[in-house]
Symmetry: C2
Subunit: 362 residues, 2 copies
DNA sequence: TTGTATGCGTTATCAC
DNA sequence: GTGATAACGCATACAA
C-alpha cells in the first residue's frame, strides 16, 4: 500500500552516503578507511569528518564477502561450564582480539552430532580459522574438518590427533600426564587404585592410555571393576566414587579424569563420612583454579591451559598471514603438583619403605 | 607471470555451480535450499543431489548481506573465567543454537574502553541481537547501545539499568539479595561485619546498595575501614580479607562480593591459621557450582544464572520475530542458601538469644 | 591522486 | 513452476 519505509528500522549509512556527502567517489572513502595510500590529506580529513557526521560504520559482512576473507574464528569446546575451557578460550580470545578477530563459541557436550552440526554451521559462516577443543573420532566430523583445511582454513585441534598433514595440533601430553598420576600414587605406596575414566574424546582417550601404561609399567593388574565409566563433570566423580566404594575391597587411592571429577568424588566421600586423603587419596587433572582453593587442596597434573589457547590462536594467525605454512605439533609438558589430597598409604609401612628404596627416594 | 590459480585455495561451490550442474536457474536452487514453495518434487530431488555431489554449502555472509538479516548474537561478559558467566553464556547458547543463531563472545574485563571497542566491533558485524552482561555506566557505551537499539537491534542488559525504553533488562534483584546477606549475618548475631566490595558495574553497585541498606535497616553503622575495595575475583578475596584482619577489631563475619571472593578469603584465612566459620563467618553470592563443593560449603545468595541466560536469549528471539515489541524487565528472585560457612556468633550468647527473640525465631 | 566498471554469493521482484 | 534482472555494501583492477 504505502511506500513509506517501516519506521522502526533506520537505514545505516553506507560508503555511498559518505562519498556523496564529501563529493568524492566510494572507493576514495574506502581507501581512507583502509588506510591505503594515494589520497591527499585534505580529502582524508573531509572523509573522516563525514564518517563521524553520518555515524558511518563499515559493514564487515560486505567487506568480508568482497575481500574473500573474514575475521571470525570458530571455537568449539565440550562445555564452557567446565572451568578448564574458559581458561583456554580466554587465551584464544585475548590473542584474537589483539589481531581484530572475533570468536564464534560453540558447545558440543561431547556429542559427535552436535560437533558436526556446529562444524557445518561454521563452514557456512566462512570462518577464517577454526579451533576444535573437543574432537572425537567420527568420520563425518573428520570429513568436514578435512574439507575446511583443504579449502585453506587453518585448523587447530586440541589433543593428540593428526587429522590432516596441515592440521596444527596443540597438546599437553596427556599420556605422559596420566602416567605421572599413576606413578605418584604408586610412589605413595598405593597398589589398589581406582580410576574414574575420562570420556572417549581424543584428550580423554590419551589420558586413559597414560593411566593404563602407568599401571602396566608398575606391575599393577588392570581389573575392570576398578576402572569405572566416567566423564569430565562433577557428577561423574560423585557416581564413580560410589561404585568404587561398593567394591569388596575399595581402592586406597583414586585417579579422577580431571579436577572437577576429583572434587565431586572427594565431596561425596566427605558426605559419606570418609576422609580425604586419610581414608582415600585422590588425584585430579588440569589444575584448575579451584584445585588450589579446595580443601583438601588437590594433588593434580597441571597443564598451561591459557598458554595453550594463546598458542592455538597464534598458530591460526600465522597461517592466515602465510598460507603456505603446513601442519605443526606443539606439545606442552604436564606437571605433577603435589598438594593435600594424596597421602602415603599407611596400612603397610614396611611395604611402603620398600617401594621407596627401590625407586631411590631418600 | 603465470595465470594458474594458487593451488592451495580451492574455490567453494556456489549456487551458480549447482544450478549449472542441474540445468536450472540459480533462484530455483535457492528456493529448494530455503524450502520455498513452487518447485516440483523431481527438481527438488535433482537439486539436492547436485548439492551433495558438489559439496555445496550456502555462504551465510552473502545471504545475510542480501537478506539484511544475520544470525549472529553478540555477547559480552566481564570475563568468561568467572564461573558465573559460563553458566549464563551456556543458557544463552543453548537457546541460540536451538534457533540457528551463533554467538560472538567477548570479554570486557570490566573495562569500559574494552566494552566500547567490542560494542563497535559487533555493530560492524551486523549482529541480530546483543546481550551485555557487563554494562558499566559510560556515555560512549550508552551511545553505542542506543544507536544499536534505534537501528532495530534487540538489546538485553544484565542488571538493573534502563538505557533506552526498548532495552530488555534481565536482573536478579541484587539489592534485595545483598540485603538478605546482611540480614542473615545479623540474624546470626553478628554486628561487626566486614564487606569486600564488588566492582562498580551495574550489578556490583546494585548489590552494594543492598549491603548498605541492610546495614542501615539493622542499625549497623557504616564504618569505612570495614568496607574494603574489591572486585569479583579470587584475588580480591585474598587481598580484602588481609586488610580486614589488620583492623584493631577485625569483623566476626564477612560479606564477599561473590562466591569466588568468598573462597579466596576463606582459603587465605585458613592459610593464616583462622577457621571458617568458627573464627569468622563468610557469606558469598551467586551460588556457583563450587560453592556447594567447597569446604566449608558456602552460605550464599543464589541466582538462577542459566535460566537468566535462557531468558535473555529468548527475549532477543521474540524481538527478532516481532520488531514491534518494546522493552521489558524480567526480575529473578535471589535466594539465601545457608550452608556451613556462616555460624551464629558465640562471643556473647545472651546477645544472640536476644536478637533471635526479637526476630521471632524459635 | 581520483573515478569507472565489475563482481563477491546470495535473495527479491518481477515477468514468463 | 521457472527464469531474467537488480540489489545488498564493499573492494579491486585499471584507466584517467
Amino acid at each position: 500500500m504505502s511506500t513509506v519505509p517501516p519506521p522502526t528500522v533506520l537505514a545505516r549509512a553506507t560508503l555511498f552516503d559518505v562519498a556523496r556527502l564529501v563529493g568524492v567517489s566510494i572507493q576514495t572513502v574506502s581507501a581512507v578507511i583502509n588506510d591505503k595510500p594515494g589520497i591527499s590529506e585534505p580529502t582524508r580529513v573531509r572523509v573522516r569528518q563525514a564518517i563521524d557526521q553520518l555515524n558511518y560504520h563499515p559493514n564487515i559482512l560486505a567487506s568480508s564477502l568482497r575481500a574473500r576473507k573474514s575475521f571470525t574464528i570458530g571455537v568449539i569446546v565440550p562445555s564452557i561450564t567446565n572451568p578448564y575451557f574458559p581458561e583456554f578460550v580466554r587465551g584464544v580470545e585475548d590473542v584474537a582480539h589483539e589481531h581484530g578477530f572475533s570468536l564464534f563459541l560453540c558447545n558440543s557436550d561431547n556429542q559427535s552430532d552436535k560437533e558436526l552440526a556446529y562444524l557445518q554451521l561454521l563452514r557456512r559462516h566462512a570462518i577464517a580459522g577454526f579451533i576444535d577443543a573437543c574432537y572425537m573420532e567420527n568420520s563425518r566430523c573428520r570429513e568436514t574438518l578435512v574439507d575446511l583445511i583443504e579449502h585453506g582454513v587453518p585448523v587447530v585441534v586440541l589433543g593428540n590427533v593428526r587429522i590432516h598433514p596441515k592440521t596444527v595440533v596443540v597438546d599437553s601430553k596427556n599420556k605422559q600426564g596420566g602416567y605421572a598420576a599413576v606413578a605418584h600414587l604408586v610412589e605413595m605406596g598405593h597398589r589398589r587404585i581406582g580410576v574414574i575414566k575420562p570420556p572417549p574424546t581424543i584428550v580423554g582417550l590419551d589420558r586413559l592410555s597414560g593411566f593404563q601404561l602407568g599401571f602396566h609399567d608398575h606391575g599393577l593388574p588392570i581389573i575392570d571393576q576398578y576402572w569405572v565409566e566416567g566423564g569430565f563433570d562433577v557428577s561423574h566423580g560423585e557416581a564413580g566414587i560410589k561404585r568404587l566404594l561398593e567394591l569388596p575391597h575399595p581402592p586406597t587411592a583414586v585417579i579422577a579424569a580431571n579436577d572437577l571429577v576429583a572434587m565431586g568424588a572427594a565431596t561425596a566421600l566427605r558426605q559419606m563420612g570418609k576422609r580425604v586423603p586419610e581414608d582415600i587419596s585422590i588425584i585430579g587433572y588440569d589444575n584448575i583454579r579451584m584445585a588450589e582453593l579446595y580443601d583438601p587442596a588437590l594433588t593434580t597434573i597441571a597443564q598451561p591451559v591459557y598458554q595453550m589457547g594463546v598458542t592455538a590462536m597464534r598458530a591460526i594467525i600465522r597461517r592466515i598471514d602465510d598460507r603456505s605454512l603446513g601442519g605443526a605439533k606443539r606439545d606442552f609438558n604436564p606437571r605433577l603438583i603435589i598438594r593435600a589430597s594424596t597421602l602415603p598409604l599407611r596400612r603397610n609401612r614396611k611395604a611402603r619403605r620398600l617401594i621407596r628404596r627401590e625407586q631411590g627416594i631418600a
